[in-house]
């Protein structure tokens, strides 16, 4: 029997977080010392790798500490591994882009690590307040990263929009936590679950309105409609590697918390399934329809990320173990091919004067047959074609939903994924079939980004052909402290 509210002050539980924080501090202190500043990416990388190793070490060790405020379970550990991997990929693809745009400041790497640490804090706790704390630790660096290109009005605007909307959402989240606290006298999810019937019996109104506002707060992070409107603007305006990070990192963290809260925690609230049904249907439909008429690829991918969040929300409507593991599988799959697609965009944008408009792609395949084929493959994965991992992600999600009888939701999902084909194919059409308007400026590769491309490519195809391994992991990862 695990001691749920262990008072032990065991810093090993926070190993990955401490590693990230330490590396970030090191960067901050040494970043502006001459001759040490160049080491910042390396320091960040080492910190991330140590965090990755420590997170992997935590796998299988279920324990709790700090008076129940920190909880290490496999669910959390799995997400920690996902976060670090995403951060490593972002780091690898960012370096040359940032130098090219003269944005290569040590702060970026420190912020990246601190933000990743915030995600870990989020995924690593069953306490609402700690989750809130993690959310803020994650978000504050993100706001700054979005507005990092200080001279670019678009980047500024992305930063301020993200900030205003994020702070607005945080306020709702905090109010929600306050109400739940008021209803139950605790912020620990586990005690909430144990005393659920008593709480509902006496303070139903507080609890329900609190839960609704918490849903708003985290729904904002994952981009559920109608809390999605910041996504396209912020994604378009932020520097591209940052956008790549936005589209998978905070989203995964948001889903980690949402899964813990709403699938494991508040599962008693019968209403939730219907609410998530509507949210999922709305999110995927709005995301897909809006994506149809975009002229900027980053913006299109922003809407597409909303749509993908909608697919994952299906798992919340369905509930149960198979849906959770399907959602995790989908998140990993999405992280892979979406990061891959952004990596190609980063490469394309590391040329002067490119803003990732569709028209810039014409002539792409003529000059870079391999790179354009890789981009096409990521687009197919985003569509959900076999044999990419995108297909299996959708397949698990939909079959989990069908098995629980959510036929209509699946019908909506499948229809949406067919609509999505249209705009993903447009990328392929332009890069392969369109006559170039002006000469296509060649792309120059860097070793780091080739590594990113190879990893994402191998993941997208390899897991598409042999998804078993990942599926096993995602199934054992649903062991959570609830």
């Amino acid at each position: 029997m695990i001691d749920y509210t262990s008072a032990s002050i065991d810093f090993a539980l926070l190993g990955p977080e401490i590693a990230l924080l330490a590396s970030a501090f090191l960067i901050l202190v040494t970043g502006y010392v001459k001759s040490l500043g160049k080491l910042s990416p390396g320091v960040a990388f080492v910190g991330l790798v140590i965090a990755l190793v420590l997170s992997l070490n935590q796998w299988g060790n279920q324990s709790s500490g700090f008076f129940g405020m920190v909880t290490c379970d496999d669910f959390g550990s799995a997400f920690k591994v996902i976060f670090t991997l995403i951060a490593i990929l972002t780091l690898l693809m960012a370096h040359r882009y940032l130098s090219h745009k003269s944005l290569n400041r040590p702060e970026f790497y420190a912020l990246l690590n601190i933000s990743t640490m915030g995600m870990m804090v989020m995924a690593n706790s069953t306490d609402l307040v700690v989750m809130f704390l993690g959310l803020e630790i994650m978000s504050l660096p993100l706001y700054v990263m979005a507005g990092m290109a200080r001279r670019s009005p678009e980047s500024n605007e992305a930063g301020i929009k993200y900030f205003v909307m994020g702070a607005f959402a945080s306020a709702f989240l905090l109010m929600g936590i306050a109400f739940v606290y008021g209803a139950s006298g605790t912020t620990d999810l586990r005690r909430l679950v144990t005393d659920y019937h008593y709480i509902v019996g006496n303070f139903k109104l507080y609890l329900y309105s609190g839960v609704a506002m918490i849903l708003v707060g985290f729904g904002f992070k994952v981009g559920a409609v109608p809390f999605h409107s910041w996504i396209p603007d912020v994604y378009e305006g932020a520097p591209t590697p940052v956008t790549a990070f936005f589209s998978v990192g905070p989203k995964a963290a948001g889903f980690a918390v949402l899964l813990r809260l709403f699938v494991f925690g508040f599962a008693y609230i019968g209403l939730l399934s219907d609410v998530f049904w509507v949210l999922a249907a709305l999110t995927m439909t709005v995301g897909n329809i809006m994506a149809l008429r975009q002229n900027n690829i980053k913006r299109m991918l922003a809407y597409s990320s909303i749509a993908h969040a909608g697919y994952i929300l299906i798992a919340f409507a369905v509930g149960g173990d198979s849906a959770v593991s399907a959602a995790m599988f989908y998140l990993v799959a999405y992280a892979l091919f979406n990061t891959g697609a952004f990596a190609v965009l980063v490469l394309l944008e590391t040329r002067t004067g490119c803003k990732s408009d569709f028209s810039e792609l014409s002539g792409f395949s003529r000059l870079h047959p391999y790179l354009s084929s890789v981009l096409a493959l990521f687009m197919f994965a985003l569509c959900g074609f076999p044999p990419t991992v995108g297909f299996f992600g959708k397949f698990y999600l939909f079959s989990a939903a069908i098995q629980s009888g959510f036929i209509w939701l699946v019908v909506i999902g499948v229809m949406n994924s067919f609509v999505s084909v249209y705009y993903y194919l447009r990328v392929i059409k332009v890069s392969f079939f369109d006559q170039p308007q002006q000469t296509f400026v060649p792309v120059t590769y860097s070793p780091a980004i080739i590594v990113v491309l190879l990893i994402t490519l191998a993941g997208t195809l390899g897991l598409g052909l042999f998804p078993q391994q990942l599926l096993d992991i995602s199934q054992s990862a649903i062991f959570a402290f609830l």
Binding site: V164, M165, V275, V286, L292, S399, F433, L471
Partner: protein, 645 residues
């Protein structure tokens, strides 16, 4: 040898990988060798496996090769495995055999094209996908092949992407197919939900227990799967992509129309015949759609002037036959027709490609004529194909079409009305096919001098496949002669093990033993042959005889004037009463029903989505306060919902 089953699809994949990764780095002869060689090896392997399978006793002709377990998740188990049984054996022979000939033909046809390497890369990928589709031992792997085929069709139809129409046609094919996939996917989910497995062997064994025969669930499932089939196999209403698909290189049309892609839907239905046998309602829908498509497309074929479009509509119409066969539970007949159709349709397409090759890519038959003497091999092979498709006794098309017509009439699921539709279609087919022959190869030469000076027979690499296919178009049907001719229907015996399970599923042995009524069968056969002959004669009158008579009439104004006038008069009446309304009707179907209604419906959906997208975009004003307002509205609604709950 059976342990090498997996090599059949893998070989073209290897060819695809080599050609694809080394594109632009290897000389053409090597591309050719890899492209054709990989398919040739597949064909050789398929043949040897076929004979190995044949050597086995009839009831144990089933080899399932599980390469590895693909996915296990709770009760969800899918293996990556291939299934060789009589049905898939026929399919791989058709795919690799006809596919190989098309590969060889392409060597000559595409020899000048700058995208030669890319072309063979796609072609190998296409073959690989199709082989995966037919050899898959479960629905999921089949779906993988299914999507692969769709993707390749998109790439190949849009092969000449610098033509806007080609790129559009590719996109259309892709998107229409996705609508069909939607049905397939959902149908597959329901099968899995109910049966708990996607493996065909398991489904065949367990479906009768899992579904209630004749219940609504099985009907819905079958209809959803059928939606998938209509997409791939170009049936009403999803056939719109196929005529446009003519934009691709002609060998691609042959590949799509004859050996691969379009047969996927028929194959899938036959593969899941156990499910369909449990739902008579679904079968009825299949039969109705098949019969209507057959006659509808044939009528449209009457008025086309583009040689490839005529063939395209004829493909749609022949596919309708196959679905009609499936719909009346004559699955064997459907596959039989699929096979013979693969032979003669591939032949017709390749021959028409040869015509285009000679005519400097002029596709309008009104600008052809008299080509017989310039390109004799093409002419004779085309004629054999035409005779086969019209169902002249002795040629392959006759046996398969006759079997379908007879089953449509006599099967328990059949109805005389189906027969009448099929019968009329046969007449129309004969008419438009011979119209094509006469306008293209006979009569005055209507091309310009420039084109005329370039007329030449195609190279060996093109004519040899034509001759082989012509032989197959003649002899391919002899394996399935009807009983009443005193022959043994080898084909039916061959497929018997596959169909038995379906029949057992509904326990209708008694029902299915069709009361053989030799006299009736004979008379129907004679009737259809007679109709075909009459149609050919009418076509000859209109597109061959009449112009000659007309010129003669101009020369000898006096002598035969009256007689000729009378003759003409009769023709006119005939034309006014029968032909012209038919042609108008055909034009109506094409211009209004097809182009406006069905195309419009599909385009309309796209327009609606686009408009919706455009107007929804306006909500995204770029102003934070607007976003915050939406946000707040969402919060209020959500809290209200929770408060009530």
């Amino acid at each position: 040898m059976t342990e090498y089953l997996y090599l059949i699809p893998i070989l073209p994949l290897v060819g695809f990988l080599i050609n694809g990764l080394l594109i632009g780095r290897i000389p053409r002869p090597v591309i050719t060798l890899i492209g054709c060689g990989s398919v040739a090896l597949s064909l050789a392997l398929s043949l040897s496996l076929f004979f190995e399978l044949k050597a086995l006793p009839a009831d144990s002709r089933m080899i399932e090769q599980v390469l590895f377990t693909w996915i296990v998740s709770g009760n969800f188990h899918v293996s990556m495995g291939f299934l060789l049984d009589p049905l898939s054996a026929v399919m791989i022979l058709v795919v690799t055999g006809v596919g190989f000939l098309i590969h060889v033909y392409s060597v000559g046809y595409m020899h000048k094209d700058p995208g030669y390497g890319r072309y063979f890369t796609y072609l190998n990928l296409f073959t690989f996908s199709m082989l995966t589709l037919v050899l898959a031992d479960n629905f999921l792997l089949m779906f993988v092949g299914w999507e692969g085929v769709g993707l390749c069709s998109y790439l190949l139809i849009g092969f000449w992407y610098h033509k806007k129409s080609a790129a559009d046609a590719g996109k259309k094919a892709f998107i229409v197919n996705r609508i069909g996939d939607f049905g397939f996917l959902i149908g597959m989910f329901i099968v899995f939900w109910q049966v708990g497995s996607l493996n065909f062997v398991d489904i065949n064994a367990m479906a009768p227990a899992a579904f209630i025969a004749g219940g609504s669930l099985i009907t819905i499932t079958c209809l959803l799967l059928f939606v998938g089939a209509t997409g791939k196999s170009a049936q009403i209403p999803l056939f719109v992509w196929l005529p446009d698909a003519m934009e691709g290189p002609t060998p691609v049309s042959a590949l799509i129309h004859a050996a691969t892609m379009v047969t996927a839907g028929v194959y899938m239905i036959v593969r899941s015949n156990v499910l369909y046998m449990m739902s008579p309602d679904a079968l009825f829908v299949v039969a109705v759609v098949g019969a209507l498509t057959a006659i509808f497309a044939a009528t449209i074929g009457l008025a086309q002037n583009d040689i490839k479009r005529v063939l395209a509509y004829s493909t749609v119409s022949q596919l309708g036959y196959m679905f009609l066969a499936c719909g009346v539970a004559a699955f064997t007949a459907g596959i039989f027709h699929l096979m013979t159709h693969a032979f003669f349709k591939a032949l017709l397409f390749l021959a028409s490609g040869s015509v285009l090759h000679a005519m400097s890519d002029e596709k309008d038959i009104r600008k052809m004529g008299g080509l017989k003497k310039y390109i004799p091999i093409t002419y004779w092979t085309f004629l054999i194909g035409t005779l086969a498709i019209t169902g002249i006794p002795g040629l392959s098309g006759f046996f398969s079409k006759d079997e379908i017509l007879w089953k449509a009439f006599s099967s328990d699921y059949g109805h005389p009305v189906f027969w009448v539709l099929g019968f009329v279609t046969a007449g129309l087919t004969a008419f438009y096919m011979f119209r094509l022959v006469y306008l293209t190869f006979h009569g005055p030469e209507r091309m310009d001098d420039e084109t005329k000076s370039h007329l030449h027979e195609s190279p060996k690499s093109m004519t040899v496949p034509l001759i082989i296919l012509a032989a197959l178009a003649i002899a391919g049907g002899w394996v399935g002669m009807p009983h009443i001719l005193g022959a043994t229907n080898y084909f039916e015996h061959w497929l018997e093990p596959v169909m038995a399970s379906g029949r057992n599923a509904v326990d209708t042995h008694a029902l299915m033993s069709t009361s053989s009524n030799a006299g009736m069968e004979w008379s129907l056969m004679v009737a259809s042959v007679g109709l075909v002959l009459i149609s050919i004669f009418v076509a000859r009158m209109f597109y061959n005889k009449k112009p000659e008579l007309a010129t003669a009439w101009q020369k000898k104004m006096s002598g035969l004037h009256k007689l000729l006038l009378n003759k003409y008069y009769i023709d006119e009446i005939y034309g006014a009463v029968i032909v012209r309304p038919t042609v108008y009707f055909s034009l109506f179907l094409w211009k209004v029903v097809d182009v406006v209604l069905i195309d419009g419906l599909i385009n309309g959906v796209a327009v609606v989505y686009n408009d919706l997208s455009e107007s929804l975009r306006q909500v995204q004003t770029g102003r934070v306060r607007t976003y915050a307002t939406w946000f707040a509205v969402g919060v209020v609604v959500l809290i209200a919902v929770f408060m009530r709950g």
